[in-house]
Symmetry: D2
Subunit: 337 residues, 4 copies
């Protein structure tokens, strides 16, 4: 760590800082600059406590850690891209994967109609919410286990693996019994107990970015999955919260090269949550594919105006078909299949 001392402190004040640095397990290394004295604290930041607390001392101006805080998710730890196998599909490989389906599972008819349509148009994985986190307790909370059973039935009929959200530690066994991929939603992205429980099921985990999570914090949340011996981690960008209100969230597509640079895990883009407007989804998908996303997660509904949740951001079956057709040349240009 790098400790910058305040100007004009006494020798005694400086020494007390050096003593504390040694006490906390580091070897101080003093550099006297033009305007400030800087102390390099040599030692393993992973093993020793952080020195950031020294900023409460009146003689210390700032403390900066040197080592990055994530390990297992980092590219340093695993220089090649890692891939996640789901059914016979590989996420993170040469083939672009498309996860599509309704925001919420509402009925057998709605789900089956959607599942068949998206598969025919080219989707490879079926999405659908059975348990829904809703801002208000008075909104539709999902069909629960009944929804999971419908998803399993749709998998049987179409051959598509299913991804669905896990939002309670109490549902871990139940959801893991049905799902092929466990989705951790934005509101639970730092619900570390849920992350640990999800990881321990051994099922692949798709970790959405929290709506105000910095990239570093997101990677660290992913660390909770890998550290619990589950290698099937995927990151999913779904928009961050900003001052803009034309879109529901601001989809941060720079996460595609950023996550690829810092980590070996696949990156998935969710344009539906990312903008909250059906009319922008096609363009965002094109951008995501061109930038190297490994998969897309798209909300599709036979009749969005009557959807039980998040209707404004779901596209129609025809809209999805058209989108898949338009994406083809971009997928090819991006070197994917």
């Amino acid at each position: 760590m790098i400790i910058v001392l305040k100007p004009r402190i006494t020798k005694r004040q400086e020494n007390s800082v050096l003593r504390e640095i040694r006490k906390l397990g580091y070897e101080p290394h003093v550099m006297r600059g033009v305007a400030r004295t800087v102390v390099g604290a040599i030692g393993d930041e992973e093993k020793n406590p952080s020195l950031e607390k020294l900023t409460t001392w009146p003689q210390v101006e700032s403390v900066t850690p040197i080592q990055s805080r994530f390990r297992l998710v980092s590219r340093e730890a695993h220089p090649k891209n890692s891939t996640v196998k789901v059914g016979r599909h590989l996420i993170g490989g040469k083939k672009m994967q498309v996860m599509a389906g309704p925001c919420s599972v509402e009925s057998e008819k709605q789900l089956m109609e959607t599942a068949h349509a998206v598969r025919k148009a080219g989707a490879t994985i079926l999405r659908g919410g059975a348990f829904k986190p809703r801002t208000s307790p008075y909104e539709f909370q999902g069909l629960g286990e009944k929804g999971l059973k419908l998803l399993a039935k749709a998998r049987d009929e179409t051959g598509m693996p299913i991804i669905t959200e896990l939002l309670s530690q109490k549902h871990v066994d139940l959801v893991a019994e049905y799902a092929d991929i466990l989705q951790i939603g934005t509101r639970n992205a730092q619900n570390f107990q849920l992350l640990i429980a999800a990881a321990r099921t051994g099922k692949p985990v798709l970790l959405k970015r929290g709506m105000s999570m910095r990239i570093e914090e997101w990677l660290l949340a992913g660390e909770y999955v890998l550290a619990n011996e589950n290698a099937g981690l995927m990151f999913c960008e779904r928009g961050i919260r900003t001052f803009e209100n034309y879109t529901r969230n601001t989809l941060d597509l720079s996460t595609i090269p950023a996550v690829k640079q810092e980590s070996h895990c696949p990156i998935v883009i969710d344009p539906s949550q990312g903008c909250g407007r059906a009319d922008l989804i096609s363009s965002l998908c094109k951008g995501a594919v061109a930038m190297g996303a490994d998969a897309l997660l798209i909300e599709v509904h036979p009749n969005p105006a009557e959807a039980w949740s998040d209707g404004a951001q779901q596209i129609t079956l025809d809209g999805f078909k058209k989108l898949m057709r338009e994406l083809k040349p971009i997928i090819k240009a991006a070197g994917r299949s």
Copy 2:
């Protein structure tokens, strides 16, 4: 709800919108303005589905709900201030309450020393973390049940009720056995399953604001507590995430009059998380008191530089004593005792 139609749509397109509005349970009421046609949809927004999904229709420009989405937390539902009783203390009454103690419980010595000192200086409730949510899995995660036992011991010795964080549905019974107030942290503020479980213990719940939660969403999260038959809800502002990096978060003190205006529940201010810097805490406490906060939640540590978590924002025992002395005239000027 108010539906604004796009300009230059056909009569047929307009009619199909009116039909859908009726189908969803509202009575449409057409107003032809200078540049746009606006439809008022008369009906109970609490009972009928939202019309916001109509924005996916090409002939609709925007949809605006009219009714506020929260009920039980609203001032409309309960015009007088509500109060929460904890031991012999009343939060939300004339007396200003101060909750103080270490970020994490680290040892018996650290906790007892802090507890006695803060009580002597004027604190009325003891805070301390036994389970800690940490951004990295490699950071100290709290003493767990051992920490809860130490808190209970400190309560026995000092007579102060205790507040501690609940972060897992699995710990609900355990934490509720020891704590007098259950704290829901910022990362779990929209972990609705945890909110429901906390509410059902019957213990008072202090709900921190999520770091990117709008005030309306925070009130709606509180609705999950009241709707599960727990009247002991308190809101706690702890700073929101913004672009500013001088402070760790931006403490939004305008929540004090805002929550008081919209809701009847007490509002507590946490300046320690709110700025993340020990040197700003005294000033923020003064502001909070003058603005009408019902309680403060302050992190205090015998030696912040050696704290096991969040050292940079904890103040010393002497600092706390000085703070309490400085707050006195402001508390009086604010009409509190």
Copy 3:
């Protein structure tokens, strides 16, 4: 406008609102709903004063305007895409334009070397700052007129039109004498006096998005250009300010479909300012092209480590050549040439 009244107000209080609405030039239209009374105020919001001030009245809950506030920039006003002619190039047409060059003009050697290299690699317009807005008064402020002269010389040698920033009303004539496109920077995006002065030169204007401007505000700032009889307006997204610190700004690529939908003006993407990191630029350019951007604005320097400003986000001459090669298939897949 739509005025929502508070519940439980008296008939007299309601009438005083209706009277004020009439006084301000609108015809009130009352709708009694289940929980609230809503008043539609029929009248031309462009000509009459806003009713938003009624929110200061105790009997009014909210006021919502109906008409969008921009006119000349809107697609309603001009349904087809507009194009901007610069030299023999058309921005907003089928051909993708690339503006490239150094952040600041530093010397004849640096500029000429860059200009020739970017032209050879495929750039069509030369960028370079002569007057630089710098956060600190102690940083390099640009070569001023000498820089403009060097740009003119580079135009003569390479045939590329030049774009350069205008940051003072005092420099309007001077900069307009040399530049082919006037760039208004992010810090001046709501410096309306400068916008008006720039518009009146008759030169094309590239309006960068302010770092905390909503899309609506950006379009309204553009309205200042069109309303001053200059049709050569281009919008340029350059990243917004958010809590993320991995990148310098968050490049909001959803502005491409958003601006295309709301406006007829071309949209340009600046990935260099947008992320502030040379290593992400290639990926962001690919996304921008696939999403339909009309042009790119890229910072290129012969030796970024020795650049006099913003070195961290400039790419090398070789890097630019490689980028242009990689963009080709995406440009083609996006239906551009």
Copy 4:
């Protein structure tokens, strides 16, 4: 500056970094840590170019400056509080100053009525906009010189000095002729040419915080004033832009202790812009006073519903009188008069 090198780079790559550091005027100082090699670059960061550009080199992980970038505004440069004299009033001294008046000057009647009322209630300085920066070109842009003349007349009648906004370099002489304090608005807070021109008039300058300015950037913008030999600089917090939409902006009251700590200049709080809602202003004023603000800037209008600009945030004459009465005990408790 501190340069962190990437792990596993060759000796030759390391040497080329050290050579470049020397070339740019610093003496490198190598520290080999457990996971990384860190180079301290010893030299005057104020005189030498920044090394941040080295982050474009593949062997460099990060670069961190050590010296703060502001000088004349810093407390280091001037340990005591500075004060600004305006007429017979001192801003930054023991007496709390209150600047009050309408958002825009609309008519002689409106201004005189307001001026007399606020003076009687205790205001010491009169505010009023003659030139108004408006988001849309179709909104009222202020009375211009006529407004300035009315302000001068109000000063003659009431004895109160006047503060008014300067928004164009072209108006500098005109506005300086009438105003006692030049206000630089949030949209021009980084319009450095305007700041320089304002400073050179010699009149006191009140610099509002840009709506997405970090505190460091704000202080640096203030540096443009002091560096142009004008010691009459005041900072004014007026809310920052965040995701919250209950308030128009988020008033960041932590700037009071922050600016006091980093700088010697007075700090003024503008709660009217800060929240955009008349109903929260009283509470925010109380907080600001308790936290040590040197002055308040409050919008007051005889009839806010008919104001020509920003009606929703202006309080009535009676409201202002009541506010001044309520502030008294807090002003006293804060040790002010």
